[in-house]
Amino acid sequence: MNLDRREFLNLLSLAGAAGLLPGCGGDKGVAPGSESGAGLYDVLPEGDVRLLHITDTHAQLMPIYFREPSVNLGFHDALGRPPHVTGDNFLKHFQIAPGSQLAHAFTYLDFPTAAERYGKVGGFAYLKTLIDQLRGSFGSEKTLLLDGGDTWQGSGTSLWTRGKDMVGACNLLGVDIMTGHWEFTYRDSEVLENIAEFNGEFLAQNIKVKEDALFDGAPAYDEDSGHAFKPYTVKTMGGRRVAVIGQAFPYTPVANPSRFIPDWTFGINDIDMQELVDQVRATESPDAVIVLSHNGMDVDLKMASRVSGIDAILGGHTHDGVPRPIEVNNPGGVTLVTNAGSNGKFVGVLDLSFGDSGISSYRYKLLPVFANLLAEDKTMSAYIDSVRAPYQQQLAEPLAVAGELLYRRGNFNGTFDQLICDALRKVNDAEISFSPGFRWGTSVLPGQTITMEHVLDQTCITYPETYARDMTGSDIKAILEDVGDNLFNPDPYYQQGGDMVRVGGLNYRFDPLAAMSKRVTDMTLDSGEAIEANKSYRVAGWATVGSQSPGEPIWDTVATYLRDVKIANVEKRNTPVLVNGTDNPGFFE
């Protein structure tokens, strides 16, 4: 965004005034107890083009509960900066009234009670109604719908249809442009097939076909540049030209199995991004340059500081529901960075107004999607019914009753993760268990029946196989250190955007501020016995990235355990003792 100082100050003041959601009334949310969402979705038309943004819906076609994290630590430049503020600190930062509908949407506070009061969120039939309304009121010809990816994975039906149920749903929703991450956990041929069925455009500037694969005749969007997919597109909307560049998750072949997509190589590639932005600016005469990103918010913030010429980065991956964009300065001006949450819980609305030289002002709102406040779209709900019908019996199987709130999200542990870890230990007769720190996975309220669908929401991946094997104490420490560095490396470019590996039967102290290989200390078993470096321990886990594990899929393990316990309670949470971090603005427990 090329602005002079006066324009920038003007824009800042606009952002301050405009970033708050409707219904906030500037300093307070909808009053506790008020069931009315009046005004929540009346986003008056303002500006020349409207960009609607959804991301990380994780194939949640139906409305769900999703608890935001209580622990989302940020250090160094990220200390106290969104998204690394949680709970009360979040409410204060964004001036949201405690107990309000918005407080419930954006924080974990009082979750079970507030969830009962305000009901489920998301669901594509409700998303469709809201998106149609936001489009219609502004003018469809001036509106774009962008999907940041992690759309084809996260539910039983998405796995069983290999993402096709979501391609159909996105076509009905009218997604214009998408990029991806978990999309690439299907086989490369399936990815290409799904993209061919997708009515919008799939963009990624940072996925290349490996040179040897090109040599062997692997398909590419552009063989000379090596781009596996179209890197950008330009849409003309109401006479304005908006360029959109795709940025897929840079570490897909590291964080997920590369064996499904052997020909493709990823990366942040911000040097390429700068070259592409310069090229687009020079050749396409765009009124705005937007990046649809799956980098994760901290990576986007760093990229925005290094790459000039991008007006806004609409981000996802880290599942951060952030009500206001962060304005990042770079040598070329200012770039807005947003993150639009997950699981279909939010729709981002970015309205841009243009002046003589590019964008003159913007307005951003992140609207929570409360199913109770929206009518369902009949076409979409009929489609969803048809997708689910063949699997209904399997999905609805009751397994146990939740004895407490079950959720995943958080830097170190979640109650549902603890159940998964407990199940792994029990079923495999292991001393220790590991479960990956994914950020998707819906929440189950106390007293709610846990169905097979809930378990699949937590576990549904294309590499679900379990293992039980012997590892030495030093192997175990190496794994914890490696994942810990992916989360807490001071440089965001070295972070992968997941949370810490969850553990069962293992306790440790963790210092996020220590250097790599120095963060984990005092490892003990639940018995209190110290872990010895050279001693072997039986460890169970799932989701191995390197090669396929031999055991049954994790959902079978968890289902077996739940059927057995009948009432699911977490007896002991193996959350590490934090050294540094308990006074962090992103920490509540």
Partner: protein, 164 residues
Amino acid sequence: MTAATAKLVGKRVVNRRYFLTKLSQGAACLAAVASFPHLVFAQWSEAAFGAKELEKAIAERYPELTIEDSDAITLKVPAIAENGAVVPVTVKTDMADVSSISLFVEKNPTPLSASFYLTPGSVAEVSVRLRMGETSNLVALVEAGGKLYRAQQEVKVTIGGCGG
């Protein structure tokens, strides 16, 4: 993928296969070698390539030159390697009179991994894939106009998994 794209891809594949066929016939092999004469025939520096420490390797490869950090070198290398066995590295610069480019992996048993000699007038851009056993700093040195310039970046080799 549109039909037009597929067609374009198909055509290119034929071209590459054709090129491969030519290579196998031998005629092109000579040409390929001839285009990198310095790479093939430059004097092998046992002391530099055999050195076990970064500082020693640099001192052996570039004796009597002091190093200056430079923003004029573009070092394209992943922050996190997808595969430590083949880490793609590209070094390029617009500096004048570049005579050599060398790459060092600090934690490798022998850090000096590649050294390119450039003839006058060459475009100073080299790409290579390096093996990295563990997380390490990667150092690129560019010799230009009798001076030595440096760009470096840490490349993390990780066990992976557990992402987002």
